[in-house]
Amino acid sequence: MQKPILSFSAALAAAAVLISTPVYADGRLEKIKSTGEIALGHRDTSIPFSYLDDQQNAIGYSLDICYGVVEALKEKLEMDNIDIKYVPVTSSTRIPLVANGTVDLNCGSSTNTIERQAQVAFAPTTFVTATRFLAKKSSNLSTLDDFKGKTIVSTAGTSNIRWATAANDSQNLGMNIIPTKDHAEAFLTVENGRALAFFMDDILLAGLVATSRNPDDWMISEEAYTIEPYAIMQPKDDPEFKKVVDEAIIAMMKDGRLEELYKKWFETPIPPKNVNLNLPMSDSLKRAIAEPSDSADPENYK
């Protein structure tokens, strides 16, 4: 019986040591230069930003942007080759992994928000989307009030589930919110009837519907609830690295490469099912490209 007390106090002591130990780090540029490799975080099912194709290779719009950044890094660091290490992340692990050094650039579908800027930094916005919900056409849902007392699903660690939880509390909706590990699982939760709707960024919803078995069964809501500017996530407090990354992306915006990438992923057929999302560039994105900004304020993107 003394043993558990001993382990408890030992754990507290270890914690106390941990608190007082400062942790510093060198910049990522030095790390990339000396190890010759960069770690890119990617997603499994964030179509078309960062997802796995039939051969389980990571592809997508955000990854292509990151490849452009890697080219710029090669030039800046005067290296012939930088090995790319692919690190699978989920919405809830991406921030701690960028913060603890496992991932250098997170190339996925991360929203730039003020809260997140306390832990990580963001490159200039490369996509603008909004929170909507996905449901079966037969459910006939249109507004938030239709969900009073019902069950919805969203992906853990996203800005969308955060908004849904806060709205649930402030508007007293009494909704049950199921958190899932990733988007595909959330989609399946609606498909097999456990939840009424999936709240997520509308572009991701569109990607899931387009690649589903019966796209005609699904509807995405007209109402949009939040504005979500996407950007590549990078470590905080590393100004040299941020400068190189930001300049690389701005260069891609200025010389038209970003528009080409946009066309490739949003206006032509994409793997694995060769579906065309057919989504012309929105006005807010055009403005964000003309005037690159890494601001988290949704007002800037209206």
Binding site: S7, Y24, V87, L188
Partner: protein, 229 residues
């Protein structure tokens, strides 16, 4: 739900076994080996007469046995780079991949369980063995390595192997890190093709067959090597 779709299993066999099962087996074997070595050392520390060693080892073992494996997995996944930087003098962030992090986690976690098994094993070797060995003039290290430990291993072999089978099952928990072990691969295929039923049942069947055969093997070995007392 229409009929059971064997096709999806058929198509993904290569991915499931070459990527998924290989990952699981590699993780199991490497952490079992590392865990056993570390566990034996911990057992010796716990049984040692030096209070510092036995307290530290005891605290470590009790702490890890009191925590759920999922929590320990998360701790190490997020913590290892910081510890790595601290250990190497904080010169640069130590970027560890998912597999390395899982390997460290399982080795350290299983070491606590192997330690208890080995401690039991070492204690089960009669005192007379140690006494006889010392009477023959062997020093303490030789007594340990040539007399006590081999007998302890032999006594505890079935339990150690059973614990390894448990470890094999526990590796499925790397699912929470989105690593592609056998279960992770099955889940990926299931979600991509919308065939949850087939893939989960298939994964369950494969795990069952492997673990059942392994535990029958352990039982057979136990009968063959049982020493009548």
């Amino acid at each position: 739900m229409n009929g059971f779709d064997f096709d999806v299993i058929d198509r993904s066999l290569g991915y499931l076994f070459q990527d998924g099962m290989m990952f699981t087996l590699k993780l199991t074997l490497l952490s079992a080996t590392g865990g056993l070595i570390l566990g034996t050392l911990l057992a010796l520390c716990r049984l040692s007469k030096i209070p510092l060693l036995s307290t530290v080892a005891g605290t470590y073992v009790n702490l890890l046995r009191a925590l759920p494996l999922i929590l320990v997995i998360f701790w190490f996944y997020f913590l290892v780079p910081y510890i790595g930087a601290w250990l190497t003098g904080a010169s640069r962030p130590v970027s560890v991949g998912g597999f390395t992090s899982a390997l460290i986690t399982f080795t350290l976690f299983e070491a606590a369980y192997y330690c208890e098994i080995m401690r039991s094993g070492i204690l089960s070797v009669p005192q007379s063995q140690t006494a006889a060995a010392k009477a023959l003039g062997l020093n303490r290290v030789q007594v340990l390595c040539s007399v006590v430990l081999p007998q302890a291993f032999r006594n505890m072999a079935p339990v150690l192997l059973t614990q390894t089978i448990v470890l094999f099952q526990d590796t499925s928990l790397v699912y929470v890190l989105s690593l592609t072990d056998f279960l992770g691969a099955a889940v990926k295929v299931a979600q991509r093709d919308g065939r949850l039923l087939e893939m989960y049942v298939f994964a369950a069947v494969v795990y069952f067959v492997i673990c059942y055969c392994a535990s029958q093997l352990v039982r057979y070995l136990q009968r063959r090597t049982a020493v009548s007392r």
